[in-house]
Amino acid sequence: MASSTTSTAITRNQVDLLDFIDWTGVECLNQNTTHPFQNAIKQGYREDEGLSLESDADEQLLIYIPFTQMIKLHSIVIKGPQEEGPQTVKLYTNREHMGFSNVTDFPPSDTITLSPDNLQGKPVVLKYVKFQNVRSLTIFIEDNQSGSDITKVQKIVLQGTTVETTDMKGLKKIEDH
């Protein structure tokens, strides 16, 4: 399962972490209900250029993604339109249930500024050391490229590896003989 995106330093065996997302816990604040986060993250939906995640009351978005196991996050791809695509994105690890009021309370694990290239699909490599044991990721999109009221995101891909943890589902009861 090699990573599928193009070019540059997509290093050895980074996988798309889509399979490890715990879908029951994913939350997105300030999303427009007709354009929910599934459009950007879910398999199939995110490939569709027409479907995008849009913000509602203002241009900020807060997406909380828990994982089913510990992962190391290597890079992230955020695709969006040139104008309304995100610009400043802050990432927080292992913080549950953040709100817009406490995004400023603690420093982000990483801050990225997306260039138009990135919006085309070029991955952004993250500070790997900060993302070693990630249970949940919070993506805070602070503003967009043009400063418009609505931010649109077409696709979000997380790439990384899993930490060697026991998959509890794989454990089987020992049969008594």
């Binding site: 604040l29 300030n30 209900t33 509602d56 203002d58 900020q60 549950e96 709100g99 817009f100 009021s101």
Partner: protein
């Protein structure tokens, strides 16, 4: 006589058993009906929600244009909402804060304990002016720190006094609420003022996301604040469904009784509810029968009731109650006692209805067992109190059918529903026929 008295107890038991068998069928059919209607309603809203209720305890709440005072009407509405929320989902939490007085004060943080919420509503002081913005912000904060993060956040504001804030400020607050996915319900009552209405409408429009937020305007009038709220989306939730609480309370309100029929009937104790309801129906049907019988039997009273042991005892007991009821009838003006009669007549009639082989000799004997009859009366009286209105309404078939037609999912043309209605109709009619039959026997 000693022999007969010894058998009393057995006969009583026998009589009761017969009655029970008779009732069981009725119970089951009505139980089905009741459970069916409740199921329809309860299955539709089980949203897990944390709610903060913002109460207005400003000086404007002293006004009496809502009976008895605005504040009291508001308190009743709050109690009703708390009950509805906690019943629609046991994990729902509700908290309360006051917006006026010395400042915004949280009375109770979101909790599932209804008792705590109701208790904190006591001893609230009226004064000051309502601070809407601060109230909403504190409510939002309280919700943010809720224990169960899976709960949807909702704020219910009772806006009675005037609103001092600008429309712009309120719209900003609304946007912030929407951004944090907090729903807002506003009850606009008390001070009537165009600017206030406009501001509140703008606030709710700013918060509204997919119809989850509502505003209700309640003008002053004869309708209680709580009754008006019962029919609004604040109670019925976002969809077409409503909680069982709301449905039952609405039906009761429509029937002219605020609150439940016999206490918290269908939700806590469906069987008791049915028992009470059935006894009311029977009593009403008996009322006419008892009236006729009393007129006929007055001439027969005092005649000997010669028969074999069991029949004699039965007719004695029956005679005792009949004579008691008859005597009472002359004195009676109250509904309660009339119902009492019906109950007595009912116990008298049932053996007649069920026992075909027995010589249902309804000739009245001397009132031997006065004590026993009295005991019967009292046990019936417990159930009969305060329920005359409801009994009449329930026995009114047209009313029942109109309720049924209004229920979603119940098709009055459905054969099973028709059967139920027919059986309910037949039961009182059947009993009356049986009453007439024994009378003819006597003659």
């Amino acid at each position: 006589m000693c022999l007969l008295e010894a058998d009393d107890h057995l006969v009583q038991r026998h009589l009761f058993r017969r009655e029970q068998e008779n009732y069981r069928f009725i119970f089951q059919t009505l139980q089905f009906l009741l459970r069916f209607t409740l199921f329809i309603h309860q299955s539709s809203t089980m949203v897990l929600e944390a709610t903060m209720i913002c109460i207005d305890n400003s000086e404007w709440m002293r006004n009496g244009d809502y009976a008895p005072t605005r504040f009291q009407a508001q308190a009743d509405a709050v109690n009703l909402i708390c009950g509805a929320k906690t019943q629609s989902n046991p994990e729902n939490t509700v908290g309360v804060l006051t917006m006026a007085g010395k400042g915004v004060r949280v009375l109770v943080t979101p909790t599932t304990d209804l008792g705590k919420i109701l208790a904190c509503m006591h001893g609230l002081e009226i004064g000051g002016e309502m601070n809407l913005a601060a109230g909403i912000q504190v409510a939002q904060l309280a919700l943010k720190h809720r224990q169960n993060k899976k709960q949807q956040q909702r704020i219910i504001v009772f806006a009675g006094g005037p609103v001092r804030y600008d429309k712009k400020v309120l719209e900003m607050i609304g946007k912030k609420l929407k951004k944090n996915s907090v729903a807002l319900d506003v009850v606009n009552f008390g001070e009537e003022d165009e600017a206030k209405t406009e501001k509140l409408e703008a606030l709710v429009a700013a918060v509204n996301n997919n119809d989850s937020s509502h505003i209700v305007h309640v003008p002053a009038g004869s309708n209680a604040l709580s009754d008006v709220l019962l029919s609004t989306p604040i109670f019925t939730g976002d969809g077409e469904g409503g909680s069982g609480f709301a449905a039952a309370a609405a039906a009761a309100a429509a029937g002219g009784v605020s609150g439940f029929d016999f206490g918290v009937d269908p939700n806590l104790d469906p069987e008791l509810a049915l028992a009470l309801r059935v006894s009311m129906e029977e009593e009403r049907a008996r009322q006419e029968a008892a009236a006729k019988k009393a007129a006929d039997d007055s001439s027969k009273q005092g005649k000997e009731g010669e028969s074999t042991s069991q029949d004699a005892t039965m007719s004695e007991n029956v005679g005792a109650s009949a004579s008691e009821s008859e005597n009472k009838k002359d004195d009676l003006m109250d509904d309660e006692n009339a119902l009492l009669q019906q109950a007595l007549a009912m116990s008298m009639d049932d053996p007649a209805a069920t026992v075909t082989t027995r010589d249902t000799d309804m000739s009245e004997a001397a009132a031997d067992d006065q004590d026993l009859a009295l005991a019967l009366q009292y046990s019936m009286q417990e159930d009969a109190k305060d329920q005359s209105d409801m009994s009449k309404l329930l026995a009114d078939q047209s009313f029942v059918s109109s309720i049924l037609t209004n229920l979603p999912g119940v098709d009055p043309n459905d054969p099973s529903v028709k059967d139920l209605l027919a059986s309910m109709q037949n039961q009182p009619e059947k009993k009356e026929d049986d009453d007439k039959a024994p009378k003819e026997d006597d003659k």
